[in-house]
Amino acid sequence: MQQEQYKNLEQQVTPPTPYLKNALKAFFVGGIICTIGHAITYFYIIFFDFTENTVGNPTVSTMIFLSMLLTGFGLYTKLGQFAGAGSAVPVTGFGNAVISAAIEHRTEGIVLGVGGNIFKLAGSVILFGVASAFFISLIKLILVTIGVVQW
């Protein structure tokens, strides 16, 4: 069978990808996750001394903690299969990436397995976050020193 023929056959047999359906699922599940995040934001604002400026940190921590728990119980995988990017793009996907790598490699031992692989996926995210925050604050420091902007 020629390569071209195989390609044609493969295209005939493969079912079409439901792009619209996938996008809608991702939209709604991602939206629900963000709504839960917003509810947590209001919870911290109303019951604790957080303003809209400061409430981001505890909200993100709580969302990551919840997704870590769900990953541990095996529920986040099911959500990921259903919603795709809708569950991976919000910050909860970060918690899932950390814990799922740790669970996957736990048979290799605590140090070399869990310790060595826990940041396999999420490590690059943390690195990029820290490095870009460093450079942006450096740029702002220079601009403030020159007198272009204020803190």
Binding site: Y42, I45, I46, D49, F50, T51, E52, N53, V55
Partner: protein, 134 residues
């Protein structure tokens, strides 16, 4: 199933469209009617907010407003504009205008408070909280 979802979701979605009335509340220990009218005039004239609460206590004036949902990005500008207006009108007061939800929530809780000392302490605390950035 689809009908049930439709039945529950449409009223929920449409509920967001109702209630265009601006709610403006003023707390003033001295109950000065003139001040109330002036505050109402300033807040009423601003098209970018849907609700506002002003609290007069001693030399402090705390104005907590809520920007219209699609105008959240303009919060800084709204605060600046209102601060200028209030500082001009009430130059004898130490004015703080904020579009933060925390300050709005706490200011609304203070409206029913009768102990002016408590209100004063709370306003001071809120002013410090507004400065907090960490």
């Amino acid at each position: 199933m689809k009908k049930i979802v439709f039945f529950f979701f449409v009223p929920l979605l449409l509920a967001g469209c109702s209630g265009n009335d601006k709610t403006i509340e003023v707390y003033d220990v001295l109950d000065d009617a003139e001040k109330r009218v002036e505050v109402r005039e300033i807040l009423d004239s601003n098209e970018d907010i849907y609700s506002g609460t002003a609290i007069f206590v001693n030399n402090d004036l705390l104005v907590a407003v809520q920007a219209k949902p699609w105008l959240d990005y303009k919060k800084g500008k709204i605060e600046k504009e209102l601060t200028n207006q209030f500082e001009e009108q009430f130059s004898q007061f130490d004015v703080l205008v904020s579009a933060d939800y925390k300050l709005y929530w706490e200011a609304n809780k203070l409206l029913n408070e009768e102990d002016s000392k408590k209100v004063e302490d709370q306003v001071k605390k809120l002013k410090e909280l507004e400065k907090e950035e960490t």
